[in-house]
Symmetry: C2
Subunit: 282 residues, 2 copies
């Protein structure tokens, strides 16, 4: 497994692969890999001849008050894990390789990046779209795989790919969960034991909402109230948002339908956790 | 010469060319081609095996009060002209091919798009960077050629290419002029006879500034005053801006150096004309 740290070397490898008619797959990550990432890699493997996993903790998607510095990193662990997954190449650039001079160019998605997570993280999604556009131009994948856990991100990136005509197949993989339902995330590491015990209530409240919908109760306010009640009953939680929205516009819906995402963000102690379910999809 | 109107067909052709080891060159235009475009095409020809000229009047870079509707178009004339230039392919999409649904994704260049032309045309450059990013992803060129006449645009696009890691060689070609010095532009067609006679004073004032600098007078205010005086003496002119700026930051310089661009925009009657000279470059 190659570890590539340089942009021009990665571009040259990708050009050569394309010239040889090989399909390139990309799984972009911030490292500290867990089973959720492995699932993305397994999915990508099905669609390509040459699989690149990028590991880059992207400073541009963190606000100054956020956890960029303490975001967990363990490259040696990640590397050995990826060798076991028959990944062909890790793209592992340093910050000054990705941002060698003052970045002035950003990719923005109007109306989509300023909602849900974008309210408490106003510059987050432009950081994500910008770095993903950069990774696409560096790794030149035919297919890129992202997780449904970051639901708003998945939606925004799919819209970016369409709007900017990236010739890339976007595949979104269902959220991988711990046995108690907690969505896998590198940030789960921040949780204390008590917080970790409380955290699965996020998914349980989403599941309860889903059961309500399955019974035919589709009113947004009723569903939101149920979720709010359950989340508020947990002393470790502070709700950031509960959103019941159209999966394309992210605008609130009055009545839940097959094009609805229910997404929540909760501070569990100091750790911000997100999760979502898509109605009408598994 | 092929005329391609579909995004997916163009992408497939480009993929095949790249797989065959061919270098693709791109000259993006809004059509109504003149000798300035021909010069771009000649330059591109030197750097590629397969030359694509795109013709697309991009609505997103025009403000509602601007000349999108009346912008001159003559595809049959353009096509016959391009056949004579041994262009391999014209990419000629309709608007709904380029913008099939509501565009939400834009490429912006902070600090660069809001100066000079960006003051009177606040959304212009995000329209340009966005459509050029789209064309890059559709045509997948190895080299792209632009004109120095649109000096701010050239600078912004070069910065975009660097910042987003587009693996594309950017070539900027010196402005092509009429025999009396007027920079060639499709918009010159708008000029009445009197306006057309007045218009070359724009370049003459830039040339006079250059002569002043060659004599060792490098103070911005003195140079700007000279240009302003000359432009104000023409009754058909209304000055939009006179900018003496660093070629990378577009910030005003106190003293002209080898990294200075002198750029002007003038309304000649109702037609907005721009021109510039680069100090220390030919």
């Amino acid at each position: 497994m190659k570890v590539i740290e340089s942009v021009s070397e990665m571009q040259a490898i990708s050009d050569q692969l394309r010239q040889n008619g090989k399909r390139i797959g990309l799984v972009p990550t911030m490292g500290y890999l867990h089973d959720g990432h492995i699932r993305l890699i397994e999915e990508a493997r099905l669609h390509c001849d040459f699989l690149v996993v990028s590991i880059f903790v992207n400073p541009v998607q963190f606000a100054p008050n956020e956890d960029f510095d303490k975001y967990p990193r363990d490259f040696e662990h990640d590397r050995s894990l990826l060798i076991g997954q028959s990944v062909d190449c890790v793209f592992y650039p340093q910050i000054d390789v990705m941002y060698p001079e003052q970045q002035k160019t950003y990719v923005i998605t109007e109306d989509l990046g300023n909602k849900l997570c974008g309210i408490s993280r106003p510059t987050h999604f432009q950081g994500v779209t910008t770095v993903v556009a950069k990774l696409f131009n560096i790794i030149k994948p035919h297919v890129a795989v992202f997780g449904q856990k970051d639901g708003q991100q998945a939606l925004i990136l799919k819209k970016m790919v369409k709007d900017l005509n990236f010739d890339i197949m976007m595949t979104i993989v269902p959220t991988v969960r711990e046995s108690d339902g907690l969505a896998m995330s590198s940030r789960n590491k921040y949780l204390s034991d008590t917080e970790r015990q409380a955290a699965p209530e996020i998914y349980r409240s989403l599941t309860a909402a889903k059961e309500m919908i399955d019974k035919g109760i589709c009113d947004r306010v009723k569903i939101a109230n149920l979720i709010e009640e359950r989340l508020k009953s947990i002393p470790q939680f502070r709700i950031d948002y509960i959103a019941i929205v159209n999966t394309e516009t992210l605008e609130p819906v009055d009545t839940v339908s097959e094009k609805t995402m229910i997404a929540v963000a909760v501070f569990c102690g100091k750790t911000r956790l997100i999760d979502n379910i898509m109605i009408g999809q598994n």
